[in-house]
């Protein structure tokens, strides 16, 4: 199977044929704005000393994250990574809890036990990432295995960066998924820089999607700044998996528009790359598309942007006023009690 390069999305009609109406599109735009708003706000908080530890964002990856997340079904699950804040936002994680997580508060999804973007609300089908990337990739494959065993029409999404894709976990997970044709979609966020390492020092294949053939399934490369193209490819891959067609490897190409983390100014990235890719800013790009193809009105836009601003200000205030974790709880939860399992064992 040759690698296919996805084409951009055209008209509103084409989009509606793919299952998205105008409401959905405005919803996508809103999620993009919230994602960027959270991360921009986070940067400021970090520099104000309000966020401990380190701070990672995914500027430039918003469309890739939101696009895939929008294509997921209600019962699908996934393991997003640090550039995929858009996935959490699209799945409905409240912004105040994301700020609380950043600030290590007790009200964050990990209750202060883990930091930054290591979040995942299991009730929303998202499972928190780990620093040893891509440790959660074989786990996502295991989730797909459960669906296959139980013959459920659900899909697991495994995110991976273009650097993490080179570690054994990725290989073992993908191979196993291919062998058993499990309902999992592998999304590689290829933002072209693994910290300071450019792709030609990171892998030798022309496209990472080329590897899919080695695992026995299809690969596709898509422009990660085009949220609708990402949506279309993700949807195709997810529905194929759901129907029993096995895995797909979707390589979503963007540029990481900031440093690896907030303490990295990315001075190793050639200025021209930044200039070129900032012209392809995913949010600007979609806004233009909405204006050209969906008749986005100024009042609609104002309402959206001011609504997002209010949402985030309120969220930040709420998080700021929420308590830090109590040290006496430190050892709670190292081990789970049987009550933590959601179904009785003997059923």
């Amino acid at each position: 199977m040759a690698v296919r390069e996805a084409e951009p999305v055209g008209s509103l009609q084409e989009v509606q044929d793919a299952g998205l109406d105008r409401e959905d599109l405005l919803g996508i735009y809103r999620n993009l704005l919230i994602t960027r708003g959270i991360e921009e706000r986070g940067h400021i908080l970090y520099k104000q000393g309000k966020i401990p530890g380190s701070f990672y964002t995914g500027r430039g990856n918003e469309a890739s994250a939101v696009g895939v997340a929008t294509a997921m079904g209600a019962d699908d699950v996934g393991c997003p990574l640090q550039r995929d804040m858009g996935v959490h936002v699209t799945h409905g994680v409240e912004p105040w809890r994301i700020f609380a997580q950043y600030m290590g508060r007790a009200g964050g999804p990990t209750q202060g036990r883990d930091g930054n973007v290591h979040i995942g609300d299991a009730k929303l089908g998202l499972h928190a990432m780990v620093s040893h990337l891509p440790a959660m990739l074989p786990v996502a494959v295991g989730m797909a295995l459960a669906f296959r065993i139980r013959e459920e029409r659900r899909v697991a999404i495994a995110w991976c960066g273009e650097g993490a894709a080179n570690r054994g976990d990725a290989h073992e997970g993908m191979n196993f998924a291919g062998v058993r044709q499990l309902p999992v979609v592998f999304v590689i966020d290829n933002n072209q820089w693994t910290y300071s390492t450019p792709t030609h020092l990171e892998y030798a294949a022309e496209h990472l999607a080329d590897r899919a053939a080695g695992y026995g399934f299809e690969g596709v490369v898509v422009d990660g700044t085009d949220v609708l193209a990402v949506y279309r490819e993700a949807k195709r891959a997810i529905e194929k998996a759901r129907a029993g067609g096995g895995p797909t490897l979707v390589e979503s190409v963007t540029l990481r528009m900031e440093g690896h983390a907030v303490h990295d100014d990315a001075s190793y990235v050639p200025k021209e790359m930044f200039e070129e890719w900032s012209r392809r800013d995913p949010i600007d790009r979609f806004r233009t598309w909405l204006l050209d193809n969906a008749a986005l009105r100024p009042d609609e836009e104002d309402e959206l942007t001011s609504g997002v601003k209010r949402l985030l200000n309120d969220a930040l205030q709420r998080a700021d006023e929420s308590p830090l974790p109590d040290p006496s709880d430190l050892l709670d939860g190292v081990f789970a009690e049987p009550e933590a399992l959601d179904t009785p064992h003997h059923k």
């Binding site: 883990d114 990739l137 786990v139 989730m143 997970g173 190292v334 789970a336």
Partner: protein, 324 residues
Amino acid sequence: MAEKTYLQAISDGLRQEMRRDQRVFVMGEDVGAYGGAFKVTLGFQEEFGPWRVLDMPLSETAIVGGATGAALMGLRPVAEMQFADFVSCAWDHLVTVAAKQHYRAGTPIPIVVRLPSGGGFSGGPFHSQNPESSFAHIPGLKIVCPATPEDAKGLLVSAIEDPNPVLFFEHKHLYRRIKGEVPDGRYTIPFGQARTHRAGDDITVVTWGAMVYTAEEAAEQLDAEGVSVEILDLRTLIPWDRTAVLDSVRRTSKVLVLHEDTRTGGFGAEIVATIAEEAFEHLDAPVKRIAAPDSPVPFSPTLEQAFIPQVDGVVAGLRDLAAY
């Protein structure tokens, strides 16, 4: 009740649980068509089908990581490492994801990883280890080491029930050598509860796994010499039965900690430290530790016998303690 080998008890326990609970399934290398390298799952694939007895690729991370993912989705996987030694390939997943997931994300990981461990048959450095202590050090993992057929079955059922990742070390040198009475029905054995393998007054031996039998032979000899040796089989290392150990130490005031794993940093060190901290005023002799020396497990029989603690060595140690 019936007399079964240690291996049969494990196999029966696993089969019973798979019949009882649809969510329990087995994944490992050669566990399906071949019935497992040690034949623990012989006949399982015929009974339960290829999607509940999965022949996995040679891929420990896919096996253990996959188990974690399936457990997150509500299944109860029992993963098998073909030899305990290979768990080092999945060490990262176990300590990075499985051990920490509940603590930081609130989602329990009810997986069991079965690990044929131990030496004594010239398995060499990569088929003979007892890699329990590095995992015992990582909070969030439970460690189980049964010595008898009855305990093996009951502890396996408890392991499957437990909502936490459980590393189940089956000593492969006991598989067919040890027989015992095993109840036919379903039963569980709680973790953190030692079993008094032999009651005694003069010396306490704390041990687990195959070393229980080595200790027993040594205790018989000491008995003939008028020294009464008590043997505590810990059965589980995380959690371990501190109360039973400390109570016994308070009675006998002399302790020998015995394990087949290597000495430095072996789990025995944790037990000895605890005794020194909490039973100092009850000690009538320094705490003694007998373990394998700090080397890889050697292959040639003469070397391996010098490596694995033998009955003679334990007898000598017990005599030293008795005379002190």
